[in-house]
Symmetry: C2
Subunit: 299 residues, 2 copies
């Protein structure tokens, strides 16, 4: 794991520096908005989505630098979605990553606006870079796919379905509908963004898309498993957890923990198979797929 | 005015049909989200921003059709901003255009998501059209300018400054800062979008930008004047209005009504002068500048 750790640390540093540069402290927007944007974005996150973009770019022979605008835009969109999902009218979470959520720290109005700013600036960044590029098409394609993944047929649709499903027991079809959109779409777009900007062939793009789909679902199941087991450990109850308590649609709630874990392992294996024929440059993608699942369900 | 009325009705019909087609009722997102999006967007609005884009496109010799994607994106961004600005954590408005605001009709969570969807889909639409275009650059430029106008240095920054200014008496610098960003930026981007897509020369773009800046500010002052006079008529008080009651930053509150009206007329004259040398195809732009100001302050 140490090699993966080194890789993740190096790429995270690259992404964090680029993100901080996007929102320098001396720009025009009202100071409080900028503070809230930076608080929401520059928070020591894992940067999974940006790192997937950089790793996919390298896996097809590109330089990671080429994927950096996409990496930043992906994290900005991810950060916006967390800020809005945490709001009282949504999941009503007061804490995230061990500190107050944005609306608790800055008030609801500023939090809504900080999310709006992060979403908008993601597209501003990509379109600026596309205009500057000699060949704008790959960045334009990334922009289109990110907007699609974030929009009504993607993340926003998933969150709306999640809101609608709260309070009633969910079935498997609802859980899949929600997770494919709410987290799967942006993880898939992360991998595809890197592939586009690394100049992937059509065949490589197809394989990486399959990798991204499997990884996205595996990631969500692993996250649900960690949540459920954390809640079991905390409460001593035999099953359930925070999301179950809220009647949230999760895999462990629908499948039970053992079957959810088996499904995550299966998806990891599919993800690994999809990039089997890729050269050593795809090793980080392989290591990430294993790590994402194994941190939650073991080997 | 009848010629302008005909023009506005015709262009509004074109825009409304294109907007309705963007969100057909049979698509995948959860029905409730789609309903809220359509409720927020297809509401019989004046369509000032889209019509400015179509009119600017025609003014430089383009076909209005070329500006239709920008027109739709502009209205989607405008609709998103109204939905979010009306939220309880922001301006807390229960009514808009004679009916319940989106969060009153659909709940706060769905309203936040409907706004997020409208904003995201505006960029999805423009990037899709750019990818399909033989020459993507004009649409890409429009996308970049819309994102800039909507972002932290534009609308979101203006709304944040407006929130921050509430509850304290505002000075002229604050009022200008807020309005240039909150409404001015998108109105300017509307005119420039049409110019880009109509193939404007650099000189024509410069003149139209000046028109757009003056129109944007004039529009906001006229709106503030109408609000203030409406409140005077309703309450019988000598000055003020809803925004004043809330200590909102407005021109009449800072300048007084007569000076605010004079400033609106002056800006109208500057807008008209900016397009003086344009051919008859710019007549709708001229008529709009006059109409926007004169409906509020007379000739």
């Amino acid at each position: 794991m140490s090699e993966l750790d080194d890789y993740l640390t190096r790429q995270r540093g690259r992404v964090d520096a680029a993100l901080a540069a996007e929102f320098p402290l001396d720009t025009a927007p009202p100071h409080r908005l900028l503070e809230a944007v930076r608080y929401s974005l520059l928070n020591g996150g894992k940067r999974l989505r940006p790192i997937l973009a950089l790793a996919a770019c390298e896996a097809v022979g590109g330089a990671a630098e080429a994927a950096l605008p996409a990496a930043c835009a992906l994290e900005m969109i991810h950060a916006y979605s967390l800020v809005h999902d945490d709001l009282p009218a949504m999941d009503d979470d007061a804490m995230r990553r061990g500190r107050a959520t944005t609306h608790v720290a800055f008030g609801e109005g500023v939090a809504i606006l900080a999310g709006d700013a992060l979403l908008t600036e993601a597209f501003a960044l990509l379109s600026r870079r596309a205009l500057q590029a000699a060949r704008p098409r790959p960045l334009l394609r990334v922009l289109a796919e990110l907007a699609e993944a974030a929009g009504a047929r993607g993340m926003v649709g998933g969150q709306a379905a999640d809101l609608a499903a709260a309070g009633a027991p969910a079935d498997m079809a609802t859980v899949e509908f929600i997770h494919v959109r709410k987290t799967g779409a942006l993880l898939l777009a992360s991998v595809r963004s890197g592939a586009h900007l690394g100049g992937a062939s059509a065949a490589a793009l197809r394989r990486l898309s399959h990798y991204g789909e499997c990884l996205g679902l595996a990631f969500q199941i692993a996250d649900d498993v960690l949540d459920a087991e954390g809640a079991i450990a905390a409460t001593g109850k035999a099953a359930g957890g925070r999301d179950r308590a809220l009647d949230k649609a999760t895999y462990p709630a629908v499948l039970g923990l053992p079957a959810a874990k088996a499904r995550a392992r299966e998806l990891r294996d599919h993800a690994l198979a999809a990039v089997e024929r890729f050269p050593a440059a795809a090793d980080p993608l392989r290591a990430i797929a294993s790590y994402v699942v194994e941190r939650a369900v073991g080997a």
